[in-house]
Amino acid sequence: MTHLLECKDLHVKYGGVHALRGISLHVDEGEIVTIIGANGAGKSTLLNAISAIVPISSGEILYEGQPLPRKAHQVVARGIAQVPEGRQVFANLTVKDNLKIGAFLRRDAQGVAADLERVYRIFPRLRERENQYAGSLSGGEQQMLVIGRGLMSHPRLMLMDEPSLGLAPMLVQEIFKVIREINREGTTLLLVEQNAHKALAIAHRAYVLETGEIIREGYGQDLLKDPAVQEAYLGARRTARQK
């Protein structure tokens, strides 16, 4: 069976750093796959390599069995959207224009209008603020906007980079709820997260990345119970000591 996305022995080197050292992973249609790991493990580099923002040194990235193009805009055209880390909105544009620019490559006006409605249904706050400049939104609203903007291209596969980073606990809950909902509505997700607990809880499968290498993989639920993963990424020891 061909996977929706498959990375084979992927290496990325840049600026003298060997950031990815032979990553092999796959994502199947309909899944939520998460990649957990510490800061600097190479999680963002992996997503950026798939999005063709950073060049790959060796290895292959296959999408529906075919090599992915190596220009970022062509990757988007194939149906892969990225929600970049750190709420990178276009601060100089209104909320609505940010969302419209997410649908830049689409020619079906009706489909775009329907997806705009869908984004506004998922995030009613964005509708309220549609004519405000994105730079004036709060951090949480900006995160909603970048997720909404990613949805506007109607991707088959969405790459999400740390969607919960720096958000208040209540918002984190809401964002994870939305991630599940997006997946249930048919979008396949590759999710990079520092919040390993929450990410593993919603993921079908997961990979653990450490200094550019995959050191463990498995079902989300299994990794949650894996003592090594618990110790390194879920803060199990600290919880035990507190008890």
């Binding site: 805009h73 988007v76 990178q88 276009f90 291209s153």
Partner: protein, 290 residues
């Protein structure tokens, strides 16, 4: 008298505005100052001149040909002088050097092929100015102002209201994230140079009509660059405001102090603005650009 100076200042400011928007547009997206912009203006002035003199086309068509011609030339310059650097992620300094090289090449190429002599546009509009009360308004100045307003309105509509314009703004804010939206950076660069070139083309014709046409006339656009910096490099409204502020400052300096001090005041204005407000009058404080 004061009113007359303001009228004169607006007239020169209008030409500066046409040129300054080109500097600003390119800077906003690609983060470097295209110092070959003045030479695109010079070529536009020649295209307009020869269209009128050799092809004997009507004036509006001559302007259209200058805009199209200069736009295409600017696109070609981007392709050969800047794109290879961009694809290699070269430091911004290299772009400046490449721009200066391109500028020297274009000037000398023009001297060798067309010749170093000064050429004067024919008088298309009666030289006799309008008299409104005590004011005298040159007919050419009026044409310049109207043409500038039309071009700036078109440009504003294009950048702020159309899909592709919004893509240009997104790319100006963050090219990397824009490419994640499916926006092709090469396409945006081409488009931005086309727009900047076309406005330099009409600017060249108007400049040529007001003064003369010669191979190194592009040097004069350094004033328009000053206007763009005063207004806030990268901001289109800023470029326009800066151009009129500079135009009026210059005419006042020339009229009330000494025309020899005119340029002194232009650069003094720029220095004061840069020191007091590094982002310019309307520029946003450097977001993620250095």
């Amino acid at each position: 008298m004061i009113l007359q100076q303001i009228v004169n200042g607006i007239s020169i400011g209008a030409v500066y505005a046409l040129i300054a928007v080109g500097y600003s547009l390119v800077y906003s997206v690609l983060n470097f100052s295209n110092f070959a912009h003045g030479d695109v203006l010079m070529l536009g002035a020649y295209i307009g001149f020869f269209s009128l003199m050799l092809l004997k086309v009507p004036f509006p068509l001559a302007i259209a040909m200058a805009m199209v011609g200069a736009g295409i030339i600017a696109m070609i310059i981007e392709k050969i002088a800047y794109r290879p650097l961009r694809l290699r992620r070269a430091p911004l300094l290299y772009f400046m050097i490449s721009a200066m090289g391109m500028s020297i090449f274009l000037q000398n190429f023009t001297i060798v092929t067309i010749g170093p002599n000064f050429r004067t546009y024919p008088d298309i509009f009666p030289v006799k100015p309008f008299a409104v009360g005590n004011l005298s308004i040159g007919r050419l100045d009026l044409v310049i102002l109207i043409a500038t307003v039309i071009v700036l309105l078109l440009l504003t509509w294009l950048v702020y209201k159309t899909r592709i314009g919004i893509a240009i703004q997104a790319a100006a804010y963050n090219m990397r994230v824009a490419s994640l939206m499916g926006i092709n950076p090469d396409l945006i660069a081409t488009l931005v140079f086309l727009l900047a070139g076309a406005s330099a083309g009409i600017g060249g014709v108007l400049f040529g009509m007001k003064y003369t046409v010669y191979p190194w006339m592009g040097v004069l656009t350094i004033k328009a660059f000053v206007a763009a910096v005063v207004g806030g490099l990268g901001s289109l409204p800023g470029a326009v405001v800066g151009a009129f502020v500079l135009g009026i400052t210059e005419t006042f300096a020339a009229a009330y102090i000494s025309s020899a001090f005119r340029d002194l005041f232009s650069y003094l204005l720029m220095t004061i603005i840069i020191v007091a407000r590094p982002a310019g009058l309307m520029g946003t404080v450097a977001q993620e650009k250095a």
